[in-house]
């Protein structure tokens, strides 16, 4: 298990619920314990990604706003 | 002759009873109560569903398929005329000749249109793909029924076949696809309720 993300994704320009849809698809491509990093521009992710990790049981490692326009988040596959 | 006539009436009674059973069965099922605030008018919606909403110009589908629509209408007029003719068979001798003559032509035309529908079901790719054996059987049975009824009206030799075919047709109504005649009323009523409540129909600029 490493701390560097296995996948880095670009969700810029995608509107809700596409970031959640994409991350849900992507999580299947990594092993349990691996990380996915993504950046999005839709502020909806600030609520939707934590909600998604809570309801699916995956771990939200980081979620932050960058330069006022983009949002970066890191998710760890738990199961 | 009387025995065949009785047979036809027995078939009619069986068919009606079967339809009643279907009706009762469907009515036994739950009827959802819609509590959302009404936007339009439910009774106007139902009235529309059974009147203007049935007109050929009311729907895009019937505007495109006007011939098929008219064929269907002619066929169904034939069916109801045939049922009426058989029911009224005890009174045929009092029919004015003009009535018998007109009726027989309505029936022949209906049978012709029925046969056209039956052939379309076989020939047309989409319809063939959609049709069940039940559909093919039902359209030809009904067509035959209308045809022999028309023939029976003008030639006594066809009266017995008319009663026989009539008995079979009537009995088959609740069993196969012909029972859509009952569900037509349910369906249009629900249609009218739904679109009436939501203020879609009747609407001067209705959505089609």
């Amino acid at each position: 298990m490493s701390d560097s993300p296995k996948l880095t994704l670009d969700f810029k320009g995608l509107l809700c619920p596409m970031p959640v849809v994409k991350i849900a698809q992507a999580i299947k491509q990594v092993q349990v314990g691996e990380l996915i990093e993504a950046v999005a521009t839709d502020p909806g992710v600030m609520a939707d990604i934590p909600a998604w990790t809570r309801s699916t049981g995956h771990e939200l490692v980081a979620l932050e706003k960058q330069d006022g326009k983009t949002f970066r988040f890191v998710v760890k596959r738990v199961k | 002759m009387l025995i065949f006539q009785l047979l036809a009436f027995a078939g009619l009674a069986a068919g009606l009873y079967g339809i009643y059973l279907r009706y009762a069965e469907t009515r036994r099922r739950a009827l959802p109560v819609d509590k959302s605030p009404v936007k339009g008018n439910i009774s106007h919606g139902i009235a529309y569903a059974f009147t203007t909403g049935m007109m050929p110009w009311a729907k895009e589908s019937t505007r495109i398929h006007l011939i098929a629509y008219l064929r269907g209408i002619g066929f169904h007029i034939g069916i109801f005329a045939a049922i009426g003719t058989v029911i009224l068979s005890p009174f045929w001798e009092w029919f004015p000749p003009l009535l018998s003559w007109t009726l027989s032509w309505v029936l022949f035309l209906g049978a012709l249109l029925g046969a056209a529908g039956g052939l379309m079901r076989i020939a047309e790719h989409n319809l063939r793909g959609l049709s069940l054996p039940d559909d093919h059987f039902a359209v030809w049975l009904t067509t035959l029924f209308i045809a022999v009824t028309g023939l029976g009206l003008v030639n006594e030799a066809f009266v017995v076949p008319m009663y026989l075919v009539g008995a079979v047709t009537f009995t088959y109504v609740p069993l196969g696809k012909i029972r859509h005649c009952l569900y037509f009323f349910f369906s249009r009523t629900f249609f009218g309720k739904f679109f009436g409540r939501r203020g879609v129909f009747p609407h001067p600029e209705a959505v089609q």
Partner: protein, 446 residues
């Protein structure tokens, strides 16, 4: 019988009420509904005839319920439900029908095909074969309702950012986006993302409306799943919010399915706890214009614009005049679609259709002279509608552009030429000015 099949059949039985049985029984298989369906229009195959779709469920229903079918299954193609059939049904109901009800309207018997497709969706959800992503989205939405605290702070932060933009746009230092305002008249429920918050905020402020923004989003994936249980839980968030704040009215963003959910379904799920008036934003806009609460520039959009109705707003909701009224007030050249060579006898009648999106016919000339990028038609909700457009209009050189109704902003929610915006005129009226629009680049991302 496996458990999956058992669950699916149980779900079918549970739903079998009068309207559903009627839909299952009434079809005469006349095939006249074929052209009504945009799937068939796009790909004229037997499988895309609405009745064919419905037949797949009927064969299962007949096997369970019809006397003749049980005796002679071949006679009516009755089939016992198995895994393959269930997978096929799931695919049909989720991927090949948008529940637009166009077939119903065009059927001589008024057969409610979408009702059957909904029944299949519920069967699939019960059996666990429904698209996982919809379940996931619904569950995430429910999670937000269970404990909004985990995102509320971030949400409020974003709203504060948007408020800044709002002030920039309107030039009004007092313009605001109230959240959780007790006793507000209107609870406005957006979709997630700025594009459905900022533009309405401009309007609400201009109209001096007493409103508050919902902390939840209007979409309800439980409805897509035909899963009343999940759908209720998703809706409950807003029902509770409205009750807590004591609002009078709930206004739903332009989303058709969300409007249908709150206008027509929620009152049935929360009888006694939900006596709010529910309106679409389009209705509110029309009212503001009619009452002079906002002033709009009637020539604000110089191009010819036509309107393609949304199934959920129009055919399933009766909202026909309002969007046209709004458009006629902001568009210099509003035209209803007229008959053309596409083959339908009257396109005038076909014009009112799916997806509440404006179709903006920007002329070739404009594209050439302005050197704009290739315009695409794109629709935020469903893209199905575009397939239905007459082939001539699908050609890219016709430069057909679908736009959001009534207000146009770029992805950030900020009007493209915000600097050129005149501040509110005539007592704070919002102006729907030329150029405050989605440009096609933004559309490509929707």
């Amino acid at each position: 019988m496996t458990e999956t099949i058992e669950l699916a059949l149980k779900a079918l039985e549970a739903q079998l009420n009068q309207p559903l049985e009627t839909a299952l029984e009434a079809c005469a298989r006349c095939g006249i509904c074929a052209e009504a369906c945009h799937y068939y229009r796009a790909e004229p195959r037997v499988e895309h005839i609405p009745a064919h779709r419905a037949e797949q469920l009927r064969s299962v229903y007949r096997y369970e319920h019809d006397f003749l079918s049980r005796m002679f299954p071949v006679w009516t193609r009755a089939e016992k439900l198995d895994e393959t059939t269930l997978a096929n049904l799931t695919e049909i109901a989720f991927s090949q029908c948008t529940l637009c009800r166009r077939c119903t309207v065009n059927c001589p018997l008024g057969v409610d095909t979408p009702l059957m497709m909904r029944a299949i969706r519920a069967m699939a959800t019960a059996a666990g074969t429904a698209p996982e992503i919809l379940v996931m989205l619904a569950d995430a939405a429910i999670e937000k309702g269970n404990d909004p605290s985990f995102y509320k702070e971030m949400f409020l932060e974003q709203i504060a950012d948007m408020e800044k933009q709002l002030r920039e746009i309107t030039g009004d230092e007092n313009a605001g986006i109230p959240v959780e305002k007790q006793g507000a008249k209107i609870l406005y429920v957006p979709l997630a993302g700025a594009h459905t918050i900022l533009p309405p905020a401009v309007v609400f402020n201009a109209a001096k409306e007493d409103w508050t923004l919902s902390i939840f989003e209007a979409s309800n994936y439980g409805v897509f799943l035909a899963d009343v249980n999940r759908a209720r839980q998703v809706a409950k968030r807003i029902v509770d919010e409205a009750n807590r704040l004591g609002v009078k009215e709930i206004v739903i963003s332009e989303c058709g399915h969300a409007y249908a959910c709150y206008r027509w379904d929620v009152p049935n799920w929360f009888a006694g706890r939900f006596d709010f008036k529910v309106r679409s934003l389009i209705e509110v806009l029309a009212e503001y214009i009619a009452e002079g609460k906002i002033k709009v520039d009637p020539t604000g959009i110089p191009e010819s614009v036509t309107y393609h109705d949304s199934c959920n707003l129009a055919r399933n909701g009766g909202l026909l005049e309002e969007p046209r009224y709004v458009l006629k007030n902001i568009v210099g050249d509003f035209r209803e679609m007229t008959p053309n060579k596409a083959g339908a006898l009257s396109l005038r009648r076909r014009r009112r259709d799916r997806c509440a999106r404006r179709i903006c016919r920007t002329k070739n000339r404009r594209r050439q002279t302005q050197g704009g990028p290739n315009q695409k038609h794109r629709c935020a909700g469903g893209r199905c509608c575009v397939r239905e457009l007459p082939p001539a209009d699908r050609r890219p050189e016709r430069a057909l552009q679908l736009e959001r109704p009534c207000y146009r902003t770029d992805g950030s929610g900020r009007p493209r030429d915000a600097a050129a915006q005149t501040p509110a005129r005539g007592g704070g009226g919002a102006s729907f000015r030329r150029g405050t629009g989605w440009n096609s680049k933004d559309l490509g991302r929707v």
